[in-house]
């Protein structure tokens, strides 16, 4: 086999020769591929010869490791007698039409077209564009396996298959999108997840026509929730968590290029449970969960309670306690509402700012923002000591929740409670909490309420 050195496809020698020989059909196919990818400089058409017949290797060199793939094809020629046999040896996808070939090229496959009119789609040695299995970035499991999902959808499914070796684990794949076809995969355990639920999700995924770029794009297609902080999907990075959800009768979706397993439906228990908790003795895991629940409660209640007790209902406290609070606020010009609002927003700002900072700058901001500013504010008598304690407590409490998104939405829900409490005091606080529980109870995804604690299996009605 003779392979010409790499050349720009526009000046490909063999191509010109064939053009002269007038084999129009082949040329049409190659020509069509070339014109389709004429704007891509990383597109190559490489000619080679074997057994007296010319053939072309076509693909993207950014997706294919050309040197290795070439070596592979070359090795295969030694076992083959003719080009046709070579093609047979290399691939079982033979003689496809032009559209399929184009798609294969875009998917990072190597396309071979021979002079005699055959073509084949070959699985090449790909360029390594993916990071390998790493530790989770957003979750840090204690006492549990440390591998996390990556961007590659096959790798992610593989991570699950490896741990869940059963033929009942089913996988459905979808190609959706307008501009570029995006792969979505749905995993479930047959006999566990409800058939009705699977059908509904299947139908909704098939109906998607627009591009799915982010998790929220997918979320929108799974049910209408206008301006809701609660998503239909719970994203997790840890395979153990995804497998646990599968076993608990739920569905796991994978979106290409997202290093998350998207558990559907998202339930309130995701905020309090993780699969890794169960590595601890039951008493300890119950304690951890109770603490997380307390964290949610404290985040919602604390700022509101402070405002209610200082500005609206000071009389419900014991006299000495009420006096202590009044004492700590002495000389502070701001009203409790304003004071608390400023501090809560400040704390949320700091949290948000730190997230994207380089690790070297983060501690500085934390120190200046938290320690210096906090102390300065208290010493300048702008906010009371008590409020600083309350706000710190709240910040710590809000971080106890499982999942970044859950923590965020709990943090956002404290504002309505706060507003109600600043107007109605304790009544507002209670009504605010009631409103939140009513709101959360009203959420459903595919008829499964968000407030469900245990998903029923196949036999269950709801």
């Amino acid at each position: 086999m003779i392979i010409n050195p790499y050349t720009n496809p526009n000046v490909c020698q063999k191509y010109k020769e064939i053009l002269l020989r007038g084999q129009i059909e082949i040329i049409n196919l190659v020509q069509e591929m070339k014109s389709a990818f004429s704007d891509q400089d990383d597109f190559f058409v490489q000619d080679a010869q074997f057994d007296g017949t010319a053939f072309f290797l076509i693909g993207f060199n950014t997706l294919i490791d050309f040197a290795k793939s070439n070596l592979y094809v070359r090795q295969m020629t030694q076992r083959s007698a003719s080009v046709h046999e070579l093609f047979l040896n290399l691939s079982d996808q033979l003689d496809k039409d032009a559209a399929q070939l184009k798609k294969a090229v875009l998917d990072g496959k190597l396309v071979l077209i021979s002079e005699s009119g055959n073509n084949a789609i070959v699985e090449p040695v790909p360029q390594s564009l993916r990071r390998s299995v790493e530790e989770p970035r957003n979750e840090s499991p204690i006492q549990g396996p440390l591998d996390a999902f990556g961007e590659d959808i096959e790798l992610n499914i593989g991570l699950i298959r490896k741990r869940l070796g059963t033929e009942r684990l089913c996988l459905c794949s979808y190609q959706v999108g307008e501009l570029a076809k995006q792969r979505i995969s749905m995993l479930y355990i047959r006999g566990k997840a409800q058939t009705a639920l699977i059908e509904k999700v299947d139908q909704r995924l098939k109906q998607i026509e627009s591009d799915i770029e982010t998790i929220d794009d997918l979320n929108k297609h799974l049910g209408k929730r206008i301006l809701s902080p609660v998503s239909h999907l719970f994203a997790t990075e840890v395979p153990v968590q995804a497998i646990h959800s599968l076993k608990k009768n739920r569905i796991v979706l994978f979106l290409e290029n997202q290093p998350f397993a998207l558990v559907f439906p998202h339930l309130i228990s995701d905020m309090l449970h993780t699969a890794n908790d169960r590595n601890l003795p039951i008493g300890l895991s119950l304690m951890i969960r109770a603490l997380r629940g307390l964290g949610v409660f404290a985040t919602l209640v604390l700022p509101a309670l402070y405002v209610a007790l200082t500005s609206v209902n000071p009389e419900i406290l014991k006299t000495d306690l009420a006096l202590f609070i009044a004492d700590s606020r002495e000389g502070i010009p701001l009203t409790p509402v304003l004071e608390t609002l400023i501090m809560t927003i400040l704390v949320d700002l700091i949290t948000e700012a730190i997230v994207r900072l380089p690790k070297s700058v983060g501690p500085t901001v934390t120190m200046v923002g938290g320690v210096v500013l906090g102390t300065a504010m208290v010493e300048a008598k702008l906010v009371s000591n008590l409020l600083v304690i309350v706000i710190t407590f709240m910040l710590i409490a809000s971080s106890a929740v499982v999942g970044v998104q859950n923590a965020l939405y709990i943090r956002s829900l404290k504002y309505p409670v706060f507003v109600l409490a600043s107007v109605y005091g304790i009544v507002g606080l209670i009504v605010g909490l009631a409103l939140i529980s009513i709101y959360l109870a009203s959420l459903t995804s595919c008829d499964i309420p968000y407030m469900t604690f245990r998903m029923k299996g196949k036999e269950g009605i709801k």
Partner: protein
């Protein structure tokens, strides 16, 4: 099973809402001794009505009350249910108005009751619009927290109990049965709610009995707990006896000055569910009765809530509230007697008719 439990919770919470409203005050005005006699008679009579209602409903396992009436004919349904919807609106209005008054007296002495009224109306309408599923799910959270609070309030006030206050324990006579106020008392009942869920998925009669036993226990505790603390003479002068009773306790180790706030919190909880269910029932009735193009339950719910709000806001003072509560309660008695009986009669008729066909 979960749904049955939730329905039971809603049933209990609704009655607790009525129980905190006027129930103890009415009981004290009915008799001087042996208050349990009044409560148990009330319980027994309601139980008979529940049984009748349930027997009738069980004959149509897949339909709710409104569907059954619609089977009898559109006009029959309209004549029976439209006034009931109006009455429910009035009940909800008075209920919220009275509670807004209590809440302002506990928490927000300087705030006008109208502000609290708007808040309560907003939340209960919101809940009602979200539908029965939401109400049922919320009921679990509410039931647990509220019951804990109620138990805490009652348990902490046992220090002030003097059991002799409730003596003599035996009812002096059964004269209260002929008192018009006993009639009003009968109106404090939400048993018709059961009919709004098809009996297939609804509570069974035995489960309903259990829920009713819980309600009665709660009514008894609500009547006796102020009585043990103050005695009949004092307690009959109070407007909100339970509130005064909770106010009488001072716990040394506690953060809060008065534990009345827990009572206040539990009232808010009872009320939200009670009125939300009432508005939802109105929405459901009207949606099924009226076949307009845009007859959505949420529109009717909002309309009835608006009507109720205007009504509640127009009531000038506590004396009027009390009068109107009695009036709407009394009207409610009419419905809780006639509607179950009608359904039972209809089911008997249908049964006979089908039996007749089979014989032919």
């Amino acid at each position: 099973m979960t749904q049955r439990l939730q329905i039971g919770f809603v049933f209990i919470i609704m009655h607790m809402g009525f129980g905190y409203l006027m129930y103890p005050r009415l009981t004290y005005s009915l008799t001087n001794t042996g208050h349990w006699g009044v409560v148990l008679t009330y319980g027994l009579l309601q139980l008979i009505l529940i049984t009748i209602y349930k027997k009738g409903l069980n004959y149509f396992p897949k339909e709710d009350m409104v569907d059954i009436f619609l089977k009898m004919g559109r006009w029959v349904a309209f004549i029976f249910l439209f006034p009931y919807a109006i009455n429910l609106t009035a009940l909800a209005a008075m209920d919220l108005r009275a509670h807004a008054e209590t809440i302002t007296s506990i928490f927000l002495i300087r705030t006008p009751y109208l502000a609290v009224l708007i808040l309560l109306f907003f939340i209960s309408t919101y809940t009602a619009i979200k539908g029965l599923g939401t109400i049922l799910r919320t009921s679990i959270i509410f039931f647990i927290t509220i019951n804990l609070l109620v138990i805490f309030v009652i348990a902490s006030s046992t220090v002030n109990f003097d059991l002799r206050n409730a003596l003599p324990a035996w009812p002096s006579s059964l004269d209260f049965l002929w008192n018009i106020k006993f009639f009003y008392l009968m109106g404090f009942s939400a048993i018709l709610f059961i009919g709004f869920i098809p009996s297939e998925t609804n509570l069974k009669l035995s489960q309903l009995f259990a829920a009713w036993a819980y309600v009665l226990l709660f009514f008894l505790s609500g009547v006796y707990f102020p009585l043990f603390i103050f005695g009949q003479e004092t307690v009959s002068t109070f407007l909100f006896p339970i509130k005064e009773a909770a106010d009488s306790v001072d716990i040394g180790w506690f953060v809060f000055n008065r534990q009345t706030i827990f009572f206040g919190i539990s009232i808010i909880g009872f009320n939200l569910i009670l009125t939300a269910v009432q508005f939802w029932m109105v929405g459901k009735i009207m949606q099924k009765l009226v076949h307009w193009k845009r007859s959505k339950a949420s529109y009717w719910t909002s309309a009835s809530s608006l009507l109720a709000f205007i009504f509640a806001a127009c009531v000038p003072n506590r004396i009027w509230i009390e009068k109107l509560i009695y009036l709407s309660g009394g009207t409610n008695v009419y419905f809780i007697v006639t509607l179950p009986l009608t359904i039972l009669l209809y089911s008997v008729l249908v049964e006979k008719r089908t039996a007749g066909y089979e014989k032919k």
